[in-house]
Symmetry: C2
Subunit: 163 residues, 2 copies
């Protein structure tokens, strides 16, 4: 499998499932999700600046981040709670775009090592209604996610080159 | 509608939806969900003792409670995180039975006043897979919930009688 985002959202389901491989070990991939200073630098879509208001990536910790275009403009705020954080393995968290109040999704992110120092991220978004899922998909969620993971790969490659 | 639990779980869906009315205002119904000392006394099924390890019912708060039969025996532990708590109106939280690790559900509880000092609870459980939902339903979840709400009604009636 190439390092591309593979996303599936079967008709009539509340789920969005996705898989993405990376040329780094699972520990580095996990760290890029758990460390707010790293997370801020890759989370998509491209071209947005991300400010972290809170990011306490442990069981029961909360997060909130705000995105805006580099030319200013509208802000987009997101918040949630970490239910489970198991280092290098699993994050289960809630996720809400504050512009759609009370539309909360449950997000699973599983991290696993692959041979050759590579890793796989397997994600599942569980939406609270069919309408919520369709609305998310219609925002261009898939391309925003793909851009974010490409930025993550670039960030980790740049860090490796500086070692 | 009578004060009975009405639960729907359509085939092939990840949702369990339910409605239950109560002979008390929404503020009292909410308090019975938000106050650990009250919650402990009604949460079903009947015949179990509930111990609260944590119950911080506010945005970003966590909870954990443990149930066991009055004759001792096995313990059943549950934990989660409160994503949104809006007084007398809405709770959105995660929920996990620790015996089924990483099977996390998202729970919506909406509280609203009805005429005549009554109220309605409207709940939605969002399950992370079809298997998870079927497993929960197969435990007798519906009768356990119904027993809990009956106990809640008895508890609130007893409190009202002592005023």
């Amino acid at each position: 499998m190439s390092n591309a985002l593979h996303l599936t959202a079967p008709e009539g389901s509340l789920l969005v499932d996705y898989v993405r491989e990376f040329d780094v070990p699972a520990a580095e991939l996990f760290r890029a999700h758990a460390d707010p200073e790293l997370f801020r630098r890759w989370i998509g879509p491209r071209g947005l600046e991300t400010r972290i208001d809170a990011y306490d990536c442990r069981d029961g910790g909360t997060f909130r981040f705000v995105q805006r275009g580099q030319d200013g403009g509208d802000e987009y705020a997101f918040r949630g709670v970490f239910h489970t954080v198991r280092e290098n393995e699993l994050v289960v968290q809630t996720f809400e775009y504050e512009g759609w109040p009370d539309v909360v999704t449950l997000e699973y992110s599983r991290f696993e090592d692959l041979p050759g120092g590579r890793s796989r991220l397997t994600g599942r978004s569980v939406h609270p209604s069919p309408e919520a899922r369709e609305r998310y998909l219609a925002t261009g969620m898939e391309s925003g996610m793909a851009q974010g993971y490409d930025q993550l790969e670039e960030l980790l490659a740049a860090r490796a080159a500086h070692r």
